[in-house]
């Protein structure tokens, strides 16, 4: 068309060619602006299990103007496999949160090393990409598979007559100094209101001695099956309020209750005999 314009001297053609040229130039500029001011935060799940549906929360924010036609690709690298998670956002005004589902194949450390945001805005003449490097690691625990060994232990304890406390409850003992990371249910809110200080509650340890699980002694040939069963047992114990411990080779974890302890045990199971470093 440009050649026709020069050839004929038709100013309408010049006008049309000018429009096309300026649109092409401005498209590039607007496409860049479309990707500017974007921040992405990825929130891995606190508990993720292999071969189970997990959710990865992604929060994407545009700091100025609006954003259009985004394609976001997140590369998830596991111990033995790699997966790409992909989603689209047609229109972004301010902030948006998306939950991505994924089913990790294996236990262990999963990494998100980078993610790519691209867009074909405004007219699909080209695709602008922006790669953001961000190291996010999270642990995928072994797949919990049901097994019966816990109940056997429970029956044995009852026969000894040590019924002890009702499983799942503890008795309040005292107030202590606040430690960062303590779950909210352990914060003494009355103390905060009264004295303006953060304190934590301390409970009596149950008389129940707690369970020790030794996954390597579980009657399965496959290590993964053993670990899956152990995961199940840990989860069940914690759910029932029992103290549970773990013995993995030479490492022992004394029986305790609570969420933090659960995560500690599951982490140990997840990372057993993997190359991954603890987080």
């Amino acid at each position: 068309m440009g050649v026709s314009a020069v050839n004929t001297g038709n100013n309408f053609l010049y006008f049309l060619v000018s429009l096309l040229l300026s649109f092409m130039w401005l498209s590039g500029l607007f496409a860049r602006l479309n990707l500017k001011g974007l921040t992405i935060e990825i929130y891995p799940p606190k508990e993720a299990y292999a071969r189970k549906k997990n959710f990865l929360r992604v929060r994407i924010k545009k700091n100025f103007f609006w954003g259009f036609l985004y394609r976001v690709k997140i590369i998830l690298k596991g111990r033995l496999s790699s997966e790409e998670l992909f989603f689209k956002i047609a229109f972004l005004s301010g902030e948006k949160e998306i939950s991505l589902t994924y089913i990790p194949e294996n236990r262990g450390i999963y990494r998100i090393e980078s993610f790519i945001i691209s867009s074909i805005f405004p007219m699909a003449l080209f695709e602008k990409k922006k790669s953001i490097k961000r190291e996010i690691k999270f642990i995928v625990f072994p797949e919990p598979k049901g097994c019966n060994y816990y109940e056997r232990d429970a029956r044995r304890v009852k026969r000894r007559g040590k019924e002890g406390l009702v499983l799942g409850t503890e008795e309040f003992d005292s107030i202590s100094e606040y430690i960062a990371g303590v779950p909210r249910k352990f914060i003494h809110w009355k103390a905060l209101a009264k004295w303006d200080e953060l304190k934590r509650k301390v409970y009596l340890e149950g008389e129940f001695p707690g369970k020790m699980i030794d996954p390597l002694k579980l009657p399965y040939s496959d290590l993964e099956e053993k670990l899956s069963c152990a995961t199940y047992l840990v989860l069940k114990a914690i759910l029932q309020g029992e103290a549970v411990g773990l013995k993995l080779g030479n490492i022992k974890y004394a029986p305790q209750r609570g969420e933090i302890h659960k995560i500690k045990l599951l982490t140990a199971l997840a990372l057993y005999e993997t190359e991954g470093e603890p987080l």
Binding site: M1, G2, S4, A5, V6, N7, T8, G9, N10, N11, F12, L13, Y14, F15, L16, V17, S18, L19, L21, S22, F23, W25, L26, S27, F30, E41, Y43, R59, F64, F65, W66, F68, L69, K88, I89, A90, F91, S93, I120, P122, M123, A124, A180, G181, D196
Partner: protein, 663 residues
């Protein structure tokens, strides 16, 4: 089962395509052959109907037929019909495209074909309305394309009104900037003096105007038309009084009693006139009254620039012999003094032409004898007096149109338009042996000060007489002055708006249609001189001291630049006002977090400060950070105002953290 949202989306997409076709089809109406036009209309209508019904042709078939159309084009095209064939082929391809089941890329192709159609049609129109329609269509196609892309790429089923509004505004902003930036490209794109290969050809449309044969009364038809006939712009602005200007278009030399015709065919070569710039003025005439090619000229004309395209006859009539164009422009050089005659020797053989008389009634002959004077000037005076004494009046309607129209005019009706007065005068002069001819043209103009040009409308068409007396053709206008009433500007709002539109139209012609290599060079030259000072100027400017710089003295472009820069700074401050005018404690917290971030501890969204510190491995850094956070929390969580002491303590903590080495 398809969802409801997607059904609506498909319907909207089809509707967008349908509406987009309106403009090209409206513009094509007078461009292509009627048969082809209606066939295309039917074909495309059928394609749209099938589309709405969900009936589509296989893609391979469409592609094959399209290929055949293109082959046909190449086999039948030549330089003469290139444009016409191109438009026909694009139209057929567009119809084919509509028969396919559409995906995103198909919509892109449809709009591209429409765009090419408009490009082709642009050779046939020059009017401002077409230019505005072109802009509208480009904007429409832009929005439509984005809509298709948005719903398909974004997999959008439902759109909220605020979302639609934002899309419209944001994309509209992009298109607006496209339009603005295109002005720069338009100015800078390379141009050539002459087309390399001429493929464009505009059919010479017959409009109302002057032809070589004109019957008495025909002028009235021209005078009914209020459209602009042409525009004349002088570099120096207003040179002549608008009511006094006579524009010669054609000269009639032969009368048969009812019709005037032109027999003169002798072309006078352009001579190398030597002119003095001081006495003359350059002007440009823009005309679209392309009737047999005769062009408006002035008595003050010295010569024209386009000597190659314009031929001059021996009676000083100009005709365009170049490639016909809908909007013609040519440059004229004229004397600044008003001229009412053309000095010329008249050879004997030419005299006979201008003394030609048809078969006339006795009464007219007797009248001519009665009006004869001792000298040609006296004869002329007698004729003019005759009209005024006998009460002849000017009229546009109820003109004598019988078998002897002139006789009826002179003895019965005594009223007529300028043709009757001019014909009668010329005839009476010829009967008295004075060579005379009737001139067809325009009298008067409207001077538009805003655009600095003269506007001449079709209803200013006029005829008068030239009589050869004492070695020159003298301008004689026997028509009563009442005919000048049409020149009086109407003061109604509507009339003023019409004139405003006319000025916009003129600017459009001048800056867009008429923009060429010469203007480009001139503009770039002006830009260059604005940016780069010449030697003498530089020295003078350097001598001015700083405190004497007056903003008013700066060139306009500098003022604009300063204003935009200040605006930019203001916008930046406004945009970042929360950061710039932050409270001191907020700024300190911000610094604290950035120190930690540099050391590898980034605070996540919704993460507490204490939680953040828990992650710190370096015991010294953790200690210092904890100290900062405790002080901060003391004030913040208790909603106490940060006093001087608190801020000082925070500052000290920050300094300690800053001193810790980065690992």
């Amino acid at each position: 089962m398809r969802q409801k949202g997607s059904l609506y989306r498909e319907k909207i997409e089809k509707l967008l395509v349908l509406v987009s076709l309106l403009v090209p089809f409206l513009c094509l109406y007078s461009v292509i052959l009627p048969k082809l036009y209606f066939f295309s209309l039917f074909f495309i209508g059928l394609a749209l109907y099938l589309d709405f019904k969900g009936i589509f042709f296989p893609r391979w078939m469409i592609t094959l037929i399209g290929f055949l159309f293109i082959m046909l084009f190449f086999l039948s095209v030549d330089l003469v019909n290139f444009l016409e064939k191109s438009i026909q082929t694009i139209l057929l391809l567009l119809g084919l495209k509509l028969l396919e089941k559409k995906r995103l890329r198909d919509y892109f192709q449809i709009y591209l074909l429409e765009f090419l159609l408009l490009a082709g049609v642009s050779f046939y129109y020059t009017a401002l309305w077409f230019f505005l329609v072109l802009i509208f269509q480009v904007f429409y196609i832009g929005f439509a394309l984005f809509f298709h892309l948005y719903v398909e790429e974004g997999e959008v089923k439902v759109m909220s009104l605020p979302e639609l509004k934002i899309i419209f505004l944001y994309f509209g902003f992009l298109l607006l900037n496209t339009f603005i930036l295109s002005i720069i490209f338009f100015i800078l794109l390379p141009r050539v003096q002459n087309p390399l290969i001429n493929i464009a050809g505009v059919k010479n449309k017959a409009t109302t105007g002057f032809s070589e044969n004109i019957r008495l009364g025909a002028f009235s038809e021209i005078q009914e038309n209020t459209q602009p006939a042409f525009r004349l712009a002088f570099e120096e602005g207003k040179i002549f009084h608008p009511e006094n200007i006579y524009f010669r278009v054609i000269v009639y030399d032969t009368f048969d009693g009812k019709n005037w015709s032109r027999k003169e065919t002798e072309v006078k070569p352009w001579q190398r006139e030597i002119y003095q710039r001081k006495k003359g003025a350059w002007g440009k005439i823009y005309t679209n009254i392309y009737m047999e090619g005769y062009l408006p000229s002035l008595y003050e004309l010295i010569f024209v620039k386009e000597k190659g395209e314009i031929e001059k006859f021996s009676d000083n009539v100009l005709r365009w012999k170049g490639i016909p164009e809908e909007m013609l422009k040519y440059e004229v050089y004229v004397q600044k003094e008003k001229v009412w005659e053309i000095k010329e020797d008249l050879p004997e053989e030419k005299k006979n032409l201008y003394l030609q008389i048809p078969k006339l009634s006795l009464s007219i002959i007797k009248l001519s004898q009665k009006l004869k004077g001792d000298t040609p000037e006296e004869t002329l005076e007698n004729i003019l007096q005759f009209f005024s004494k006998e009460g002849f009046s000017y009229a546009l309607k109820g003109l004598p149109l019988g078998e002897n129209p002139l006789e009826d005019f002179l003895f019965k009706a005594k009223r007529g338009n300028c043709e009757y007065f001019a014909s009668a005068t010329a005839l009476l002069l010829r009967l008295n042996g004075i060579p005379a001819r009737v001139v067809g043209g325009y009298r008067g103009a409207i001077y538009l000060a805003r655009g600095k040009y003269y506007l001449v409308k079709q209803n200013f068409a006029h005829s008068w007489v030239e009589a050869w007396i004492k070695g020159s053709w003298k301008l004689i206008d026997p028509t009563p002055v009442a005919s000048l009433s049409i020149l009086r500007k109407e003061n109604t709002t509507f009339a003023q708006l019409k004139l405003l539109w006319e000025t916009i139209n003129y600017y459009y012609i001048k800056f867009i249609l008429d923009y060429d290599l010469k203007k480009q060079k001139k503009l770039l030259g002006a830009l260059k001189s604005a940016l780069f000072l010449r030697e003498g100027e530089e020295k003078v400017k350097m001598e001015k001291s700083f405190h004497r710089i007056n903003f008013k003295e700066f060139k306009t472009w500098v003022k604009v630049l300063v204003i935009f820069t200040l605006l930019g700074i203001f916008l930046w401050i406004f945009w970042n006002r929360s950061k710039l005018f932050q409270k001191r404690e907020k700024k300190m917290l911000h610094r604290f977090l950035s120190y930690l971030e540099k050391r590898g501890y980034q605070r996540r969204e919704n993460e507490g400060l204490f939680e953040l510190i828990e992650k710190i491995r370096d015991p010294l850094l953790q200690e210092k950070s904890l100290e900062f956070v405790k002080i901060y929390a003391e004030y913040y969580y208790r909603e106490r105002k940060f006093d001087k002491e608190g801020l000082q303590r925070l500052e000290e903590c920050l300094k300690d953290i800053q001193r810790l080495k980065l690992k």
